[in-house]
C-alpha cells in the first residue's frame, strides 16, 4: 500500500465527510438563520407564556427577526419576564405589541411583534409594554362552555 | 583481558509464587559465543528477556557493562537496548513491511541518517546474510529460513555489542541450519560482539560455540566448553548431550503402578 494512494483516499474521505457535516449543519439544521448576527436585547412581561421556550423564534410579519433568550419568573409582579434578542438590522417603535402565537393548530409557540406608530425606537434593555398572553386551550374551552351555558340560560 | 559484558549474579525469577530460576550465576565474556541449553520450559528464553530488561528479577542482579538492568530508568533502558540485537524464534518480522523496510526500521528509528546512507547500510547487512536480492519482497512472502536471515540482518543493523538468539535452529532444514551457524560465527567475529545462543540443538551448537551453560531445575546444572561437556559423567548432562530416552528427565509422566491402573478399572 503506497503512500500517495493512501494520502489520496484519506483526503477524499476527509473532504466528503466535511461536506456531509456542512450539509447537515446548513440544509438540515437551522444554522443559516440569524442566530449569529449582531443582536440587541429587550424584555417583555407576560401573565402566561404558555409553551414558549428559550430559543423560540421572534417573528414580525411572519419573518424571523430574533430569538427568545431566557424566561424568568418575577416574584414581585407574579409575571413571566421574557428576554428577547432581536437582530440589530430591524428597529421597532416603543409601542410595539408582543403577542404569543401558536404556529399551526398544535405547533410550537413563538412571539409575534406588531409595530405601533411611535417615532422613537426600542433601544438596548428597553421594555415592551404592550403584551398579549398565550392562548391556553383549557381556558378557551371553559370560556366557551361558560358562554354557552349563559346563552342557554337567557 | 577478557572483561565480561554481561554478568548474571544469583538471579531468581518466577511468576505468582513459583520460582522458575533459583539462583543462577553466569558470565558472558566479550567476543565469545555462549550457548544456553536446557529442556523445554527450563527458562532459557526468560533469561534473554531478563537481560533485555523486559522482565524484572525477583532477587539478584543482571548487569550489562557496569549497569544493573532493572535499575535503569526508561530512557537509560532504551539506550542500553540499542547495544543489543535480538533474533526471535519465528523471526518476528513486521508483516506489513518489505524486507528492505524491516532491516531499515531500527536505523530509521534511532538515527537521523539520510536515505542514501540508510540504503547503503541496509544493503550491507542484507549482503552479509546473503539476501540482498530479496530486498523488495514482502515479509510475508519469505520462507522460514529466509525470514530468519532477514531478522538476523535486522538484529545487527545498528552493530550491537550483544546479539541474542532465541532458538535460531528450530524448524530449519539442514542447509539453512548450516547457513545460520556460519552467520552467527562470522557476524560475531566481524562485529567483535558477544553472542548468546539459546537452543536445545546439541549437535549444531557444540560445533561452533565457545562455552555452554546447562540449566535444569532453576539452576546452572553444568557448564564448560563443548569438549568438556561431551566427556561429562553428570547424569543430566549425559542424557541431554547423547539424547538418551530415559534418565534424570524421566520418560513416564507421573502415574500410578501400571498393573494397578489396568486391573483397577476392570474391577469397578
Amino acid at each position: 500500500m503506497d503512500r500517495t494512494k493512501i494520502d489520496l483516499w484519506v483526503g477524499i474521505f476527509a473532504a466528503i465527510s466535511v461536506a456531509a457535516l456542512l450539509g447537515l449543519a446548513m440544509k438540515v439544521g437551522n444554522l443559516t438563520t440569524t442566530n449569529i448576527g449582531d443582536t440587541y436585547t429587550v424584555t417583555a412581561a407576560f401573565q402566561n407564556i404558555g409553551g414558549l421556550k428559550p430559543r423560540s423564534p421572534v417573528k414580525s410579519a411572519g419573518v424571523v427577526v430574533g430569538r427568545v433568550d431566557s424566561i424568568q419568573f418575577d416574584g414581585a409582579t407574579y409575571e413571566a419576564l421574557v428576554t428577547l434578542k432581536l437582530d440589530k438590522r430591524y428597529q421597532f417603535p416603543t409601542d410595539t405589541f408582543a403577542n404569543i402565537y401558536t404556529a399551526g393548530l398544535l405547533g410550537e409557540q413563538y412571539i409575534g411583534l406588531e409595530p405601533g406608530g411611535e417615532e422613537e425606537f426600542l433601544k438596548e434593555n428597553d421594555r415592551i409594554m404592550q403584551t398579549q398572553d398565550a392562548v391556553v386551550l383549557e381556558k378557551m374551552i371553559s370560556q366557551f362552555l361558560y358562554s354557552k351555558a349563559t346563552e342557554s340560560n337567557d | 583481558m577478557t572483561d565480561n559484558i554481561v554478568e548474571i549474579d544469583n538471579l531468581s525469577f518466577g511468576y505468582k509464587g513459583r520460582l522458575l530460576h533459583k539462583g543462577i550465576n553466569m558470565v558472558f565474556p566479550r567476543g565469545k559465543i555462549v550457548a544456553i541449553m536446557g529442556g523445554s520450559g527450563s527458562g532459557k528464553t526468560t533469561i534473554l528477556r531478563l537481560i533485555g530488561g523486559q522482565l524484572k528479577p525477583v532477587k539478584g542482579e543482571v548487569r550489562v557493562g557496569d549497569q544493573v538492568v532493572h535499575e535503569q530508568s526508561r530512557n537509560e533502558l532504551q539506550l542500553l537496548r540499542r547495544k543489543m540485537g535480538m533474533l526471535f524464534q519465528q523471526g518476528a518480522l513486521f508483516t506489513d513491511l518489505s524486507v528492505y523496510e524491516n532491516v531499515a526500521f531500527p536505523i530509521r528509528e534511532h538515527t537521523d541518517l539520510p536515505e542514501s546512507m540508510i540504503r547503503d547500510l541496509v544493503m550491507m547487512k542484507l549482503n552479509a546474510v546473503g539476501l540482498r536480492g530479496a530486498r523488495d519482497l514482502m515479509a510475508t512472502e519469505l520462507s522460514g529460513g529466509m525470514a530468519r536471515r532477514v531478522a538476523l540482518a535486522r538484529a545487527v543493523a545498528l552493530d550491537p555489542e550483544i546479539i541474542m538468539y532465541d532458538e535460531p535452529f528450530a524448524g530449519l532444514d539442514p542447509i539453512s541450519m548450516g547457513v545460520v551457524c556460519n552467520l552467527i560465527r562470522n557476524l560475531n567475529d566481524a562485529l567483535g560482539a558477544t553472542s548468546l545462543v539459546v537452543t536445545h540443538d546439541v549437535k549444531e551448537a557444540f560445533a561452533f560455540v565457545d562455552y555452554v551453560y546447562f540449566i535444569a531445575d532453576g539452576v546452572v546444572a553444568a557448564e564448560g566448553t563443548p569438549a568438556e561437556l561431551r566427556e561429562s559423567t553428570l547424569p543430566f548432562v549425559h542424557q541431554f548431550v547423547h539424547g538418551e530416552v530415559d534418565g534424570p528427565v524421566p520418560f513416564h509422566y507421573a502415574a500410578p503402578d501400571y498393573r494397578q491402573d489396568m486391573l483397577g478399572e476392570r474391577n469397578d
Binding site: M1, R3, I6, D7, W9, V10, I12, F13, A14, I16, S17, V18, A20, L21, G23, L24, A25, K27, V28, G29, N30, L31, R55 | G52, Q54, L77, Q78, L79, R81, R82, M84, M86, F88, Q89, Q90, A92, L93, F94, T95, F105, P106, E109, H110, A151
Partner: protein, 266 residues
C-alpha cells in the same frame, strides 16, 4: 438446605465473585493502556503519516458498509414513518422524523456498531497477531515503544474516523429518506426540507450527535486496542478477543448512549 446444595451455591457465588473481580481487573488494565496511549501520542503528532495510514484502514475501508447501510436505514425510516404519520394527516413531517432519528440516535449509534464490527475486529486481530508472532516484543527489544508506534496511531485514526463516518451516515440516510418520501411516495419536496430545518436545531441535535460519535469513537477504538493487546498469543486467544471486541463495544456504545442522551435531554 442440604450440605450438597449449600456447597454448590457457594461455588456459584464464588465463580460470580471471581468473574466480577476479573472484569474490574481488566477495566483497570484497559484504563492503564488508555493513559499510556494518550501519553505516548507524541510520536503520532511527529509522524502524521502513521495516523493517516490508520485513518485509511479504519475510515476509508469502512465507507462502503457505512454508506450502504445508511442508505437503507434512511429508506426504511421513511417508509415506516410515512405508514404511521399519514394516519394522522401529518405525512409532511416525515422529513423531521427521518432527520431527527438519524442525527440524534441512529447516526452515531449504528455507525459505532458497524465500526466495532468491521474496523474494531480488524484492529484487535492485527494487534493480537503482532503480539502472537512476537513483533511487539521485537519492537520493544529494538528500544521502540510498541504503544507509541502501534497502539497510539490506531487510537487517533479511529477517534478521527468515527465522527466523520457518523456524519456521512446521517447525511446519506437523510438522502435515502428523501428519495423514498418525495419521488416514490409523493410527499412535497419543499415541505420535506423546510419542516426539517424548523425542527432540527444545530446545537441541540447535530452538535450533540457529533459529541456522541466522538465518545463512541474513543470507546470502540480503545476496546478494540485493549482486547488485541491483552489477547493470549494463540490462534484461539485472538479469535476470542475479536468476539469480545464486538460484544464489549456494542454494550459500551448502547450504555454510553443512554447516559449521554439523559444528560442531553434534561
Amino acid at each position: 438446605m442440604t450440605k450438597r446444595t449449600g456447597a454448590k451455591l457457594t461455588a456459584v457465588l464464588q465463580s460470580i465473585g471471581h468473574r466480577l473481580i476479573d472484569q474490574f481487573w481488566r477495566l483497570g488494565s484497559a484504563s492503564r493502556l488508555f493513559a499510556y496511549t494518550l501519553l505516548s501520542s507524541g510520536e503520532s503528532l511527529r509522524r502524521p503519516f502513521l495516523v493517516i495510514r490508520e485513518i485509511y484502514f479504519t475510515g476509508v475501508l469502512s465507507l462502503i458498509i457505512i454508506l450502504v447501510s445508511a442508505f437503507f436505514v434512511g429508506m426504511v425510516l421513511a417508509l415506516q414513518g410515512y405508514n404511521t404519520l399519514q394516519k394522522y394527516g401529518s405525512s409532511e413531517a416525515i422529513g423531521v422524523l427521518v432527520a431527527l432519528s438519524l442525527v440524534r440516535e441512529l447516526g452515531p449509534v449504528v455507525t459505532a456498531l458497524l465500526f466495532a464490527g468491521r474496523a474494531g475486529t480488524a484492529i484487535t486481530a492485527e494487534i493480537g497477531l503482532m503480539k502472537a508472532t512476537e513483533q511487539l516484543a521485537a519492537m520493544e527489544m529494538m528500544a521502540v515503544s510498541p504503544i507509541a508506534r502501534v497502539v497510539a496511531p490506531r487510537f487517533w485514526g479511529g477517534v478521527i474516523s468515527m465522527p466523520l463516518l457518523a456524519g456521512l451516515f446521517s447525511m446519506v440516510g437523510i438522502l435515502g429518506g428523501y428519495l423514498v418520501a418525495v419521488p416514490l411516495i409523493g410527499v412535497d419536496g419543499g415541505a420535506f426540507w423546510s419542516q426539517m430545518q424548523d425542527a432540527v436545531d444545530f446545537r441541540e441535535d447535530i452538535v450533540n450527535g457529533f459529541i456522541k460519535s466522538c465518545v463512541f469513537g474513543v470507546a470502540c477504538t480503545m476496546i478494540a486496542l485493549f482486547e488485541g493487546y491483552d489477547a493470549p498469543p494463540t490462534a484461539e486467544g485472538v479469535s476470542r478477543a475479536t468476539t469480545r471486541t464486538v460484544v464489549n463495544s456494542s454494550l459500551a456504545v448502547l450504555g454510553l448512549d443512554f447516559v449521554m442522551t439523559s444528560f442531553m435531554i434534561s
